[in-house]
């Protein structure tokens, strides 16, 4: 049996705050295999973002065992195992789009010529060809978020972690970007962790849907999607899609009643 890329066993995380300890994650068990597209869905405070940050080594679990590529998240972060996309594009206003995509490459000290090539490649991948010389304010919100995805892809990490990347965008732009993410995923065969609020988004994108609930943050259901890898937008009207969406909704509701 092949080893999972991300392996969480009984992961616990408690924050010490002024009002006493907050149990952000409790007994989280999850295996993510190479090439999986995993969505984390749940209400605010369910720990989905916190768990993603644990995988990224931005938070450290207080209990349990968590490995990324067989090593600790901290080491994985230092070996540049993943690209991270935040809710806001967070592009530097003083750099052009190409300059922004180069940022991680400069820090990781890629050779100059290679940097140019990679920028061209990822710009094409996110459909922003020809926008390299523009400044962020000259682009729409959706295009800015695509540029930030390009930035996360530029150094070819195996894993892509996305924290509600389209949360601030309108539905039409979001649909289009969802399609693009699927296309990207098919083209690059990366392992993707994706945090979202939206049930259709989670069902449409994922091979595995992790339903979480708050206080304490925990997993209530893990759904392996039977949908094919090839997914046109119309798939959202099929009975299979509706059935999975229904199960996710049930999971969310069950978590709330507790």
């Amino acid at each position: 049996m092949k080893k999972p890329v991300i392996d969480a066993q009984a992961v616990d995380l408690t924050f010490q705050t002024g009002d006493g300890p907050v149990h952000a994650l409790k007994d989280v068990n999850l295996q993510i295999n190479k090439g999986d597209f995993v969505s984390f869905i749940g209400p605010s405070g369910c720990g989905k973002t916190t768990f993603l940050r644990c995988i990224a080594g931005l938070e450290t679990p207080t209990g349990g065992k968590l490995t990324v590529n067989g090593i600790s998240p901290e080491e994985a972060r230092k070996s540049r195992a993943y690209g991270y996309v935040f809710q806001a594009a967070g592009l530097y206003p003083w750099r052009t789009i190409a300059g922004n995509i180069k940022l991680p490459l400069e820090i990781m000290e890629f050779p100059k010529a290679d940097q140019e090539k990679r920028v061209e490649k990822v710009l094409e991948l996110v459909d922003l060809k020809g926008f390299g010389k523009k400044y962020p304010w000259q682009l729409s919100g959706g295009m800015q978020q695509r540029a930030s995805i390009a930035r996360a892809l530029a150094f070819d990490a195996e894993i892509l972690l996305m924290d509600e990347p389209f949360g601030a965008l309108d539905e039409i732009v979001r649909d289009k970007l969802n399609e693009e993410v699927l296309r990207l995923w098919a083209a690059t065969n990366k392992t993707i962790g994706f945090v979202t609020h939206s049930i259709p988004e989670a069902v449409y994108l994922s091979t595995k849907i992790v339903v979480m609930s708050p206080r304490p943050g925990r997993i209530t259901d893990v759904i392996d999607s039977p949908l094919p890898k090839e997914r046109p937008l119309e798939i959202r009207d099929t009975p299979e899609f509706i059935e999975i969406a229904h199960r996710v909704r049930d999971g969310l509701r069950a978590g709330h009643d507790l």
């Binding site: 972060r77 690209g83 991270y84 003083w94």
Partner: protein, 289 residues
Amino acid sequence: MNKIVPVLTVLAVLIVIWYAAAVKMNSTWTFDQAERAGTEVSFSELVTDTMSQTRPLLPAPHQIATELWKTTVEKKITSKRSMIYQGSITLKTTLLGFGFGIVIGIALATVIVLSRVGRLTLMPWAIISQTIPIVALAPIIVVLSNAAGTGTLMVPKAIIAAYLSFYPVLVSMVKGLSSPDQMQLDLLKTYGASQRDVFWKLRLPSSMPYFFASLKVSVAAAFVGAVVAELSTSAIAGLGARMLIGSQFGEPMIMWAALFAAAILAAILIFLVGGFEKLARYMMGGRAV
């Protein structure tokens, strides 16, 4: 054009008030003279006389303008009476102090932002430094720098100018260097960036708008510092020294002309710094304003 009309209106009103004040204030002397001579003064005589006294209490605007013209355009630049010569000395002090102020301000802000110890130890002292009246401190700085063997007055004067001008830069840079939010810092962390990268690629560029905004305040402070330094270090050159000489020797024209020369020089400096700020913003990808 729309900007110019209100400015000119205010200027015109000020000039009218000024002339009225000049007539009123200088009339005492005119009446005294008339009384001694045993003559009566008509209104038109009063106005002409109050506009043309050699040592008026308040010179009329055109008298100051004439004096300025004489001491800038008609005097040789090398002459000690030339306002351009005196202004160039003040300008040199200002620029030296401004330069030191920027360097010190940025350096202190960097230490304060990057280290907790720096934040706890330096910031209170920086604030206290600005509560001490510079006029009281100036002679001490002169004595100390003389004892240190700096030789000329330029060094203590520049120190005084820097003393006032570093503070706006410091406060703005502390704010600017700490302006990146947690998400920006996390992003760099995911790249495994070093503290050095975080500083050069994120903190420093983020602080630039704050820096430019502080420059205008800082250059004005450096200029005030330079003039105050000239006034309070018994300097013999510079616009500040000219003002002092004018007041001590009862030469109001010199005093007022030096004051106006200083105002014009300060305006030019602020204008230039403003232009530099616009250029820098444009170079950093900002929208044209």
